[in-house]
Every structure is written in C-alpha cells, then in structure tokens.
Symmetry: C2
Subunit: 335 residues, 2 copies
C-alpha cells in the first residue's frame, strides 16, 4: 500500500505538502503540485478511506435502510427502480451507498447505533416498517435522513402522489361510465390509508356511494388474496363493474380468479391496478393503472439527502411530491 509518506520521500518533500498538493490546496506551488501528482500516479497511490474518515469525520457515504420484514424485499420493480435511481444520483453527487445492517461482531445494534458506527453522512429509508420503534428512533437520531412514502418530524421525505393518482384513476373509471366501484386495500400503512381516503373522497365527490361489501381489506403484492377477494365480490347479488386492486401484481391474481369464474376482463369485469410495472404491461389485455415514477423518487431522495447533509443544522425539511402517470390500458370497459 503506497501512502502519502512514500510519495513524500520520493518527491523529497514533506507528507503535509503531498496531502495539500493532492487535495489541490492553493498554498502549494504549481510545479510542486504537478510533480506530486505525477509521482502519486506512477506509484499507484490510492487514498485510504478509513484514515480520511477518522481525520475528517466524514464518510461521503449514505446508509440505506431497506425492508427486512417482507419476503418481497428488493424483488419488486417499484423498489428496485427506486434504488437504482437513488444509487445513480447519489454517486453522481459524490456519495457511496451502503446497506444499513444491525450486526456488529457478535451483538445486535439498533439502526441508529449502526449508523453511528459507520458515521454515515446521511440515511435514506427507502422502505421499512415505519411503525417499528427502531426505525422511528433512527429517523430522529440526528443524522440527516430522508424517508420515502412516509413522513417524520425533522426529516425530508419523498412521497408518491397517491392521493392524486387514485383521484385520477377514479375519475377516469367514472368517465368510462362505471358507478359500482369496489376497492381492495393494501396493507394498513400510510400509503394505503392515503389511497383509501382519496378513493372514498373522490367517489363521494362524484356522487357514488361505496357499499361496505365493496370495500375489502387486503394486502400488497398478494395475487392469491386478490383472487379470493375477486371471487367474493363477483359472487355478490350486485357485483361491482370495476375493481381497484392494490397493485399490478395483485391484479394478476384477480384476473386469474375472474377467468376461472368464466368472466372476461374487461367485457364482464373492469379492473385497475397501481404501480405501472413494466412486466405487467406486456400482458394482454393491457392493464389500466397508475404508473409511479420510482426512478425519480429515488433521484429526488438522493438530492434531498445531499441537500440535508450540505445545509447541516440549517436544513429545513421538505416534502417532495412525485406525480404518477395514468396508463389508460384496456381493462376498463366503456359502459
């Protein structure tokens, strides 16, 4: 490992001068700077991140909290695209990405402790159980933090415009002539509550009432559950004409259940999803859904986090709302 000291010897100057030259300090002569850099280059010098961090108390790294509770984890296009965007932009801004872990040696740390251990410059909570006290503790532990799709005091956040998205979907379905709308809710978290609120509210605005039996509690990414719900709904004396699924993947289970009942989408049953998963768009009939701009959400998370780091104590948290885009597919029939 070639160090600054080795370069200094070769250059016949002091380590201090080498350090300054490499860092482009103004109080070092042009000639010396050139020489030091040339020698460093030919010796294959690479700085030592640990030494630098120890001295400067900065890591230029972001810690990333990704959910552990769900089996689906990274394997969801929405979250992977978001991670992709976050990573790309963070690196452009000069930050590395590490996953937040809880293990250290034999023992288990809290998230906050781990972040302190690694001295991350900032933390992004991309997806997590926001009810978890450990997650909440992390968000308030003092290190700059940006959350996605949930909001904590003092932290920036990036939110998908779920209310606007659902409103647009409901209005579109209404305009297509539907009056009997059923909804299958996702897991009981902030996103689900916002979407459900917007659903009820928009229906009311449009003069539609949603009977209790059209309002089902479900889960995200659960085709089986969605299939079951679909069977229940379509067995009602007065079945809905359109079902709002919690997401595109759940819709697939609903589609299958409908087909098993001898029903055709959209002839016998209209359906909408949420997310705009690329893979699902390959399937016919093309799903009508609300595309979420996951990449942009990731990008904005990185930018907001960089801002929080830069502004330090003077940082004023912002809420960034990212609009989606209605995909008018072929699963909502004109009535």
């Amino acid at each position: 490992m070639v160090t600054i000291k080795a370069i200094a010897e070769r250059c016949g100057c002091s380590p201090a001068t080498v350090s300054k030259a490499l860092n482009g300090a103004p109080d070092v002569s042009r000639a010396m700077t050139r020489r030091v850099r040339a020698v460093a280059g030919e010796m294959g010098y690479v700085p030592n991140a640990a030494a630098r961090t120890l001295k400067t108390a900065r890591t230029y790294s972001f810690g990333l909290l990704f959910r552990e509770n769900a089996k689906i984890g990274l394997a969801h296009e929405f979250f992977s695209l978001m991670l992709d965007g976050f990573k790309r932009r963070a690196e452009e801004l000069g930050y590395d990405i590490s996953f937040i872990n809880r293990r250290l040696g034999g023992q288990e740390l809290t998230y906050a402790e781990y972040v302190q251990y690694r001295r991350f410059d900032g933390v992004a909570i991309i997806t997590a159980n926001y009810e978890d006290p450990l997650v909440r503790a992390l968000a308030v532990c003092g290190v700059p933090t940006v959350t996605v799709d949930d909001q904590f005091d003092g932290c920036g956040c990036v939110l998908s415009d779920n209310a606007g998205g659902v409103r647009e979907l409901v209005r579109y379905v209404y305009e297509m002539g539907h009056r009997r709308l059923a909804v299958l809710r996702g897991d009981n978290n902030r996103v689900s509550r916002v979407r459900w609120g917007a659903f009820r509210h928009t229906c009311q605005e449009l003069g539609m009432t949603v009977p209790d039996e059209y309002d089902l509690q479900g889960r995200f990414h659960d085709p089986e559950g969605a299939g079951e719900a679909t069977r229940r709904l379509m067995a009602l004396a007065t079945p809905p004409t359109c079902i709002f699924y919690p997401d595109d993947i759940s819709y697939l289970g609903g589609l299958r259940a409908a087909e098993d009942m001898g029903l055709c989408v959209p002839e016998d049953l209209s359906a909408v999803g949420y997310d705009g998963i690329g893979l699902v768009q390959q399937i016919r009939p093309r799903l009508t859904t609300m595309w979420q701009n996951a990449d942009k959400m990731g990008v904005e998370t990185a930018e907001e986090l960089a801002r929080a780091v830069k502004e330090g104590g003077g940082y004023t948290p912002r809420q960034i709302l990212i609009p989606g885009e209605l995909i008018k597919g072929e699963t909502v029939k004109k009535l």
Copy 2:
C-alpha cells in the same frame, strides 16, 4: 461521540483495558470486564468503524459490483433475489455490503482502485460486463473475489447450471413429442453460449437437427425482439412447434406476437422460457420454464466469499454449480 478514552476515565482505568474488556480479551478480570461494559452501555458507546479499520486493516465489508450497462439493472427479479440472498447471508456472516462506485471527489477511479480505497475485505461481482477490461482487472487485483455466472482465474464463482437446465428443458419438450425446436439466443455472453451449446448438443443427442432458420440471435429481457423473432419463425413454410425463449420476460413478447397472429399457446405453438420469474407464473397459460435458484446463488456467493477472506492466501477457488428446477407449466402441448 463517546470514545474508549471517555469510558476509561469514568472507569478509572486505562484505554487499553477498556479496549480489551470490550473485545473480550482473556487477560482482563471478570469484574473489570463487567464494569467496563456496563459503563460503556450506559454512556451509549458505539465503536468507530474508521478507527478500527485504520488500525486493523479490516473493514468487514464486501464490495458489490452490479451492472451499469443495462437499463434493467436491479429491476430484474433474478438479480434482486440474488442480491437479497447475498445480503442476508453476508450480514449473518458478519459482513456489511457496499456498492462499488468509481467516483472519488472529482475524479474517476478504476473498480480496483475504489476497492483499495475502501479496503473491502472481499468483492462480489453479481452481474457485470465480464468483457470489460476494468472488470477483469478488478478480478485479478488481489482482493478476494467471487463472480456469478462467469469464471476468472483465481476467483471463486457461483454458476447457475445452465447446461443442465437447458438439457432438461429440451428433453422434456422432446418427450412431449416435439421435433421442430427453435431457439432464440440471449446476448452473446458466457451464459448464452453455454445454453446454446447445451441446446445444440441435446438436440443432436436426441437425433433432432436444428435448421439455421430456427436458430436466431436475440437479446435477454427483450419482449419486442422476441415478438419480432416469433413472427419470423411462424411465417416460415415449416414453422417450429416449440420456441425456446431466452427468458420468461422475452416469452411475454412472443406470446403477444403469437396472439396477434391469431395463434394460441400452446394449441398452435408451444413455448418455454428461462428463469422462473414469480410474476410470470401468475399468468395463464402457466409458462413452462427453468427456475433458477437466485436466492441460493446469492447465499453461496456470500459463503464462498467469506471463505476466501478467511483462508486468505491459502484459498483454493471453487466453482459452485446451482441446479435449477423444471417448472412444467402449460405452454408445451403434448403432441
């Protein structure tokens, strides 16, 4: 930030003793160890990773190289599941995960330089362009490395059993009575070559000849290209009875093209994919395909890498072959 020194003062002992006590050194009395740990706990002590690394030259971190060239990146179930497995097992083994980056301050490093900068204990190349000289340079730069689905001298590797998988698929299709098999190849890399070789070889074993017009160059994860290829194949004077798509996602494009031509799968055309993507299995007819055990591949990568780190210079690289599993779906018709 509470340090070892602060604990020492509170305990009335030396920093060295505190360090030893915290690390469970045998040459510290039970009583002292207990007291030090109690005080450390109530003071909220958390070690400093940078200081530790600087001293010990170990980071307990793995660097992760993920492809940058393709747009698809993380957003492919196969790779996300692999990453999930890798991350989970690596953390169990006491390692953190960071992405390998190439930016440092204003300048751009090679992968090898970045790895040296961060002093990763090991490197996993999960997916990358293995033709890239920078990737090859990383693999031979001395830090323990494990690659996935490609093989470099001196590095351990985890390989999906593509040859075995294709052989099993071909045999299954043959047993279903098919004799006119067409193949759409993926991008020209090691995986594609292995699969194609196994395809040709197995066909030959079974006495089937593959005419040139049944053998098409394509790409992975390219529904449009697969659709185009399907149209070409099905327009032949003697079309194939079964098409081997490069992966499940490409199959979706083929399915759509076939439907557009008024052909039904599997009545008019049989098809097989590769990967066993969960989402695609939700679609009817259920795709016949070879499921790759991505999670296990990730887990094995972590374990092999930990082994390489532990054994140091004495490490003998191993090749770990992970078998897949044939999913007998509904897209291959019995002839």
